[in-house]
Every structure is written in C-alpha cells, then in structure tokens.
C-alpha cells in the first residue's frame, strides 16, 4: 500500500547547517496496517511525512502508493490518495467557511471539482450522518463558521474530513499534541474508531510514547534520520515505555535526550 525505497534527503548540503534528515529509509506498509512513528525532535519524523505527502521531494529514492511511484507527482495530485491531519487544529480546516462547506471541500478530494453547488440537500444529509459519529453535536451546527469551534472540535472535524472519503493513506502528524489531556483522549478514541471503521492504512507521528503504544499495529522509532527500531504484532503488544527506552539505549548507546518524548 505504502512503500518507501531507499529514501534519503539532506538539507542545506555543503553549508555549515548541513543536516541529513532522512538516511536510506525503507518502509513497507500493508493495507490496513496502522503504523506509529516515534522519535525525539529532529529525528526526521516530520520530514518523513512531508516526503510522503509531496511537500518535500527526496534527493534519492522513491515513494510508492498503491504500487504507483508518486515521487514525481505534484502535492495536490498526490493528496487525492492521502488524508492528512496536522498538529495545529487551525491548519486542517478553513476558518471563515462553514462546517458544511469545509466538508464539501473534503468531499471533493478524489473527484473533479465542478461548477455545481458544493453543498446540496443530499450531501447535507450525508455530512450529518458522518458528523453524528463524532458525538459532538456538530451535526446540528452545519452552517456555523469553523473558526467558532474549539480546538478539539476542529481537530475532530479535520479528522473526519481527512478520512470520510476513504483515502489510501491516512497521515496523522502529532494531531493531539496541541490539545489538553481530556480532548486529546477524545481525539485519540475517535481516531481509533475511524481507522477501524474505514480500515485505513495509517501512519501516525507522535511525541507521546504511551499513545504510540496504545494505538496501532506497528511501531517504528526514528533517530537522526534513520529507522532504528521496527516492531509489530505480538512484540508491539507487549512493549512498554521502559522497554522502549532500554531499547533506544541499547541501540544508540546513549540515553534518549528528550524528556518531552517520555512525558509528553
């Protein structure tokens, strides 16, 4: 479903700020797999996301989605196949437009946009049905401006918008990091439900080790642009934070530097 082959990327090559963001990264994700990606700041998690989404082009290597090489494809073409939720709750929706208009924008993701009305009766009903699954009462506020929603509500809406067209890949970029603990838990639960319901192939980046352990069927740990740990199945089920930290120490011969990665 998603395959990365020998992807490497260096920023600011030949200058003092040279940074190898990704080094020979290989990932093969099967249909329906839910991969969580952890690592400290600067480990290359976000770059990995950007390479898959197409906002950054890798120096070498290839990205395949549904066995199609997408590396030369422009970002907006590629995003027909990729649903994305960002860390910033403001980033995933258009604030001055209404809930139904936002959903209409998302609805058109894998279709050709036409000169027909974006919101009609039939679609309103469809949007309402989907909003009901969030249990936030948003189905009664279809014509409210999204800018008036709280961060948690906006993130839940973003999640719905990213998924209800059933994209080939769902990418979650620390999508609960900006929320308070109770809202974060709510979004985590909604994520779990939606991913199961649509059987989405998912890639989630997180700083929160507990979340990475709770969610998903597979886990990779990144450090300095490399994948240093890749566990799935039963091994992943039995993982604990302690084991993860020990593993990191064993592989890297040093303590994990970032407290935020542990506590966050």
């Amino acid at each position: 479903m998603l395959r990365l082959e020998q992807v490497s990327l260096t920023f600011n090559e030949g200058t003092m700020d040279e940074k190898s963001a990704l080094q020979d990264v290989n990932i093969n994700l099967d249909t329906g797999e839910f991969l969580t990606v952890i690592g400290s700041n600067g480990a290359g998690k976000s770059t990995l996301m950007n390479v898959i989404s197409g906002s950054v082009i890798p120096d070498t290597g290839n990205v395949f989605i549904d066995n199609k090489a997408v590396t030369p494809m422009q970002e907006h073409k590629r995003s027909q196949m990729i649903g994305r939720v960002f860390q910033d709750p403001m980033a995933g929706t258009a604030p001055s437009m209404t809930i139904e208009e936002n959903l209409a924008l998302a609805w058109a993701r894998n279709k050709k946009r036409t000169f027909k009305l974006g919101v009609n009766k039939k679609r309103k009903n469809l949007f309402q049905e989907h909003l009901e699954t969030l249990n936030l009462g948003l189905e009664n506020r279809l014509s409210a401006k999204v800018g008036l929603l709280s961060g948690g509500e906006r993130q839940a809406l973003s999640l719905l918008m990213a998924t209800f067209t059933e994209p080939s890949i769902l990418m979650l970029d620390e999508h609960t990091a900006a929320l308070d603990p109770s809202r974060a838990e709510l979004i985590t639960n909604i994520t779990d439900n939606i991913v199961k319901k649509f059987e989405l192939t998912t890639l989630m980046v997180t700083h929160n080790m507990q979340q990475a352990l709770d969610l998903g069927s597979r886990l990779i740990m990144m450090d300095k642009g490399q994948i240093i740990l890749d566990v799935s199945g039963e091994e992943k089920q039995n993982l604990t934070i302690e084991k993860l930290l020990n593993e990191f120490q064993r592989i890297r011969g040093e303590q994990m530097a970032n407290d935020k990665a542990v506590l966050g």
Binding site: K77, F86, T93, A94, A108, R113, G118
Partner: protein
C-alpha cells in the same frame, strides 16, 4: 443636487462591477492585486478602439472582458509560477499594462467615443421606445423635483447588469470550484491537502477579478464617451474604498450579503465624492486626496465605534457591581440594627 446624486448612483452601479472584482481578489483570495489600475484601462481601451473601428458595442465589451481576464491570468502566473510576491506581481503587471494600453489605443493617450453607438446609446433608444421615463419623471415633479434626468434607461440597465453579475458571483462562490477558491484565500495548506491546485485557482480567481474590472472599465468608457490612458490611476483604492465602506455599513454575514454590501459601498463612495465636489473650495484634482481620506475614515471609524461601545459596556458593568455592593452593605447595616 438631485441630478448629481442620480448620476452618482448610475456610475456607482458601473463602478460596483470593478468593486466586485476587487472583492474577489482582495477579500476572497486575500491577494492585494494592483493589476486593477491597468486592467480597468485595458477594458476601456479595447472596447473604445473596437467601437471606433466599427464593431458592435456588445462585441467590444465582451472582448474587453476577455482582455481583462487575460491580464489577470498573467498576474496570477507571475505570482504562482514566478514565485513573486502578490503586491509586486500586481505592480509589475500594472506598469506593463500602461504600455500595452497605449499600444491598444494606437499610441494615443485618449480615444474619444463622441457620436459613436455604445451600449448605452442602444439602451437609451430602446428605453425611450418603451416610454417609461415619463411616469418616473412625473413622480419626481410631483414631489417637487423639477430637474428630471434625461433618461432612466441607463440606471435600470446598470442596476440589472450589476445584480446579474452579483448573483452569478454568489452562485460561483458556492460551487465546488468556488469553495476551493475561497479556501485558497483562507487556508492554502489545508486546501492543498484536499487535492486542490492552489496555483490554478489563484490564476483563475485573479483572472475573473480583472475580467470584472475590465467590464467596468469598458462600460465607464462608453458612458463617459472616452477611454483615457490615465483613467485607471488609483482605481484599486476606489475599489478598496467601496469594499470597506460597504462591509462597514451593510455587514458581511454571508456571501450574498457581502457582495450586496460591496455594490452599496461603490454607490455610497460615488455619492460622497460628488457631494465633496460640490464644496466650492474643492476641485476635480482633489479627488484622489478625497478618496484617500474616505478610505482612512472608513477603516478607522468602525474601530473607534467598537472601542467606545466596549468602554461603555465596561463602565456599565462596574457601575452595576458598585451599586450591588452598596445595596448589600445597606442591607447588612439594616440587619445589624
């Protein structure tokens, strides 16, 4: 007085088309597009030259609109493909259009349309055949206005055209493409992640915006009887003034409301200008200064009003609290005695 106000509404309705164009770029796309100063003249020049060369006024106007669309698309291309800042892209195009407009007008800086048949001459003669002006004028004389306008045809035609363009704009902004266009102005990162080509949408949006501006230019030239290389100077500010005044007075609750507000703003702007010009001290050359002052006033007034409202609200709250405290104190004392 009445005649000058009547004229202000007439031209205001035609300038409203330009203001709607500015609304599309400035508000919907969040793209401060200065191409307007050039494309307004392009519209005027293309239609004037074609009419002088014997084309029908309708064909001339349609081609003027297309020319404006093309000019806007080039600005969009410079910005998106050339990755040049929006303001600079617009200025570059505005400068380029100055020369292009002179070329269109065959090197002259002014093309007169005296005694040519224009959209308005056909409208006026059509209207007079209906004999509809007389009843309106008799109403005016009845309420004591003796100076009646020569024709009502231009007013009604302008009103009809502007409203049609308004409804098409409203509808367009609700279509799937229109929604994507609005999202481009609102949150580019988001709409790109929903597979919209933001570059294409910006080019389309700026193109449509300048098509409206050119339509306005073409009609103003035909109404005024000439196209002039300098007639677009400061046009973007007039457009902005209309948008800002309209929004401040009529509100921005929905798209339909906002576009109506923009039209209203354009008319009010014209009325304020013609009132200002009746002051003996002011001359035609002061127009641009008056415009600048109107825009500054329109931008500042709502903020001042808002902060005064807030202040009064806070004062009231404090007074209520103080009153409550004294009554409570009084009650306590009563209880003690």
């Amino acid at each position: 007085m009445f005649i000058s106000m009547f004229g202000a509404v007439e031209t205001g309705l035609l300038y409203a088309l330009m203001a709607l164009g500015v609304y599309l770029s400035f508000r919907v796309l969040d793209f401060p597009d200065l191409t307007v100063d050039g494309s307004f003249v392009t519209g005027a020049a293309v239609s004037a030259v074609l009419i002088v060369n014997g084309q029908s006024p309708l064909t001339a106007t349609v081609l003027a609109v297309l020319a404006g669309f093309a000019a806007g698309c080039v600005t969009g291309l410079i910005h998106t493909k050339g990755k040049i800042n929006p303001l600079l892209s617009g200025i570059l195009m505005m400068i380029a259009l100055y020369s292009i407009n002179l070329r269109i007008m065959g090197g002259q800086s002014n093309v007169p349309l005296l005694n040519q048949s224009t959209v308005f001459s056909s409208i006026t003669s059509f209207w007079e055949n209906l004999h509809l002006s007389a009843p309106f004028n008799s109403v005016l004389t009845a309420i004591g206005i003796s100076n009646t306008p020569s024709t009502w045809g231009v007013l009604f035609f302008s009103l009809l055209l502007t409203l049609i363009v308004k409804y098409i704009t409203d509808y367009f902004l609700k279509t799937e493409v229109g929604l994507a266009l609005r999202a481009t102005g609102d949150n580019k990162k988001m709409i790109r992640s929903f597979s919209a080509n933001t570059d294409g949408l910006i080019i389309l949006g700026i193109g449509l915006s300048n098509a409206l501006v050119a339509m306005s230019g073409a009609l103003i030239a035909q109404q005024g009887g000439f196209a002039d290389a300098g007639m677009g100077v400061g046009m973007i500010i007039i457009g902005l003034a209309s948008v800002i005044i309209g929004e401040a007075i009529f509100g921005t609750k929905s798209i339909a409301r906002t576009t109506l507000a923009v039209i209203g703003g354009a008319i009010i702007y014209r009325m304020v200008v013609s009132l200002a010009l009746r002051v003996d001290f002011l001359e035609t050359g002061d127009m641009k200064l008056i415009t600048a002052i109107i825009v500054v006033a329109a931008l500042i007034t709502p903020k001042v009003l808002e902060s005064r409202r807030e202040k009064r609200r806070r004062l009231r709250k404090r007074k209520e609290l103080a009153n409550a405290a004294t009554t409570k104190k009084g009650a306590d004392q009563d209880a003690a005695t």
